[in-house]
């Protein structure tokens, strides 16, 4: 490749570093993303105009086709479905990286060195796992399948055997230089990706997306080695490293080691056990209508709003803001308590509330919110469950034990807005629902909030 092309690749690599840097600070995040897009665009244009590139128009048609698929999907997706969208884009990236080095192997398999062939095998395994694993996370988040961990008896042995099988085929591929062996290895890895993600519990899925994202990054880096392309190595490794760190940060926000998320926390049917031991049975819950709750809120001094996934699903962010504004105009002090993993992804609630232009000063992160609950009159939990479940603090055997929670049970009154008594995404019962100071307000979050707004107005 000529020097100008390599220089353009160097600029692109620099853009990616600046992009990641920008994306980690609230002030420059949007610029960061634009810089990254610029770098990527530059590298693609330069590659397309390479002298002697074959099938140029064929490639451009493929790019147009891919953009026509992706852009409308990315623009039109609802805010609640963004995690799934990220999972899909990550999966296809992993698939593309695997295809790139497999194609290169098909083209040149006689002349490959062992090192390059090993890199091909690495991309075939990791890229395939990333592809099929991401598709399963998509299915879980889109609720095409249950969000609960799926535990098949003996699944761990099956997974281990398949992993060893894929690895064995991969190792055999290198000296034999055999395309059929490589394809078999890739196909087995697709199965492995499915088995890898199936046992992960719903609330942990975002952590897994982040991990698969790091996997795809490493796959891209390995493809870069196969093609002897420095830009792919740098970009892929950057994503691999930052993705790994981000995965750890996310797991840390849930108070669990990453191995616990992947293998430990939900093993051995502990979820089923904990639900059975505290069956809903005949325990009484107290529920109330909009008028009662409106009075409770309007005459409180201090109210905490704890948003969760239910708020996102109902698209009730504007309605909740209306209610909060109304309460504030009556002199009630209101704050939002944001759990880092409320919703389906870290930061999900911040994005949602930002859409409704909720002032920054009203948002409190967990560490800041928790000391406030003892002096709070009413904590209103809107469509959240696991992030306020005291079992995470008190019940040693619970699958979510150890996860930091919002201590809403320290508030004088707790109002749960829920569609039903169904447990949260993690599938764990919440004793706080049956506590004497808890009032339930059944219904869709948006309907319930509209009713509350009307009821407070008429007071």
């Amino acid at each position: 490749m000529s020097t100008p092309v390599l220089f353009a690749y160097w600029v692109a690599a620099l853009c990616f570093i600046l992009a990641l840097k920008g994306l980690s600070s609230p002030k420059y995040a949007r610029y960061g993303n634009l810089i990254g897009a610029f770098g990527a665009g530059l590298a693609v244009v330069v590659t397309l105009s390479l002298h002697g590139l074959g099938h140029r128009w064929f490639i451009i048609i493929a790019i147009v086709f891919g953009s026509l698929l992706a852009v409308p999907a990315a623009r039109l997706v609802k805010m609640t479905a963004i995690p799934q969208m990220v999972a899909i884009f990550n999966g296809v990236g992993g698939g593309a990286a695997a295809l790139v080095s497999i194609t290169e192997f098909v083209r040149l398999h006689n002349t490959d060195t062992n090192a390059a062939a090993s890199a091909v095998v690495f991309t075939a395994i990791v890229g395939s796992v990333s592809f099929s694993g991401s598709m399963i996370t998509f299915a879980k988040l889109q609720e095409l399948m249950t969000g609960r961990p799926i535990l098949v008896p003996g699944a761990r042995y099956v997974t281990s055997v398949i992993a060893l099988g894929a690895l064995g085929l991969g190792i055999a591929t290198v000296p034999a230089s055999s395309v059929p062996l490589l394809v078999a290895c890739g196909l087995l890895s697709l199965v492995l990706g499915v088995l890898f993600v199936l046992p992960v519990g719903g609330a942990d899925v975002p952590v897994v997306i982040s991990l698969l994202n790091a996997f795809t990054g490493l796959t891209v880096a390995a493809s870069g080695y196969v093609l002897d392309n420095t830009l792919l190595i740098v970009a892929g490794t950057l994503v691999g490293a930052s993705g790994t760190l981000l995965t750890q940060l996310m797991a840390h926000a849930m108070g669990r080691p990453i191995t616990g998320v992947l293998f430990g926390a939900f093993k051995g049917g502990s979820t089923a056990g904990s639900t059975a031991e505290v069956t809903t049975g005949d325990r009484a819950v107290r529920s109330a209508g909009a008028d009662d709750i409106a009075i409770l809120l309007a005459y409180a001094r201090k109210v905490a709003i704890v948003p969760g996934y239910g708020l996102a699903v109902a698209q009730a962010q504007h309605t909740i803001r209306e209610l909060v504004d109304l309460l504030e105009s009556r002199g009630v002090q209101v704050f939002y308590a944001i759990h880092p993993v409320a919703g389906r992804m870290p930061g999900h609630m911040n994005v949602l509330l930002a859409e409704a232009n909720v002032p920054y000063e009203q948002l409190k992160e967990m560490d800041e919110a928790n000391p406030e609950f003892t002096s709070t009159d009413v904590a209103v939990v809107v469509g959240a469950n696991d992030v306020v479940n005291p079992a995470a603090r008190d019940q040693v055997g619970s699958p979510i034990y150890g996860m930091p929670i919002l201590n809403v049970d320290e508030a004088a009154n707790v109002v749960f807005m829920k569609r039903s008594l169904r447990p949260g995404f993690a599938g764990i019962d919440n004793a706080l629902l049956y506590h004497p100071k808890t009032t339930l307000f059944f219904g869709d979050a948006k309907d319930s909030l509209s009713k509350l707004v009307a009821a407070v107005k008429s007071l």
């Binding site: 980690s24 099938h55 194609t103 940060l249």
Partner: protein, 106 residues
């Protein structure tokens, strides 16, 4: 490039990757993951290169699929990240950068 050169690049990239995002605030976890996701869409460059050298229907088909998937990853990734970050605009954070800590009771 020789293997040691590539290994050096790899090693330095690992450290840079760790370093640049080590101070990310929680509210940016999701956009950062999505932005990193878009960056590995750069595999599109690899997909273009292999398709450009492809011979025969099998290689061309594989190349076509790789280009389509990689484009979806890159373009879709940047667009969806921008949409998320759009939500942050029009907000008036307090002058210092760690706005969240400063947002106490009014």
């Amino acid at each position: 490039m020789n293997n040691i050169g590539l290994l050096t690049i790899f090693m330095l990239s690992v450290f840079v990757g760790f370093e640049v995002i080590s101070k990310v605030s929680t509210i940016l976890h999701t956009p950062l993951m999505s932005g990193a996701n878009a960056i590995h869409g750069i595999i599109l460059v690899g997909a273009i290169l292999i398709t450009g050298d492809a011979h025969g229907a099998v290689q061309l088909t594989l190349g076509f699929v790789a280009v389509v998937l990689a484009t979806a990853n890159m373009v879709g990734g940047f667009v969806v990240t921008d949409r998320m970050l759009e939500m942050f605009k029009g907000r008036k954070p307090t002058p210092s950068s760690d706005v969240v800590q400063n947002g106490g009771a009014k």
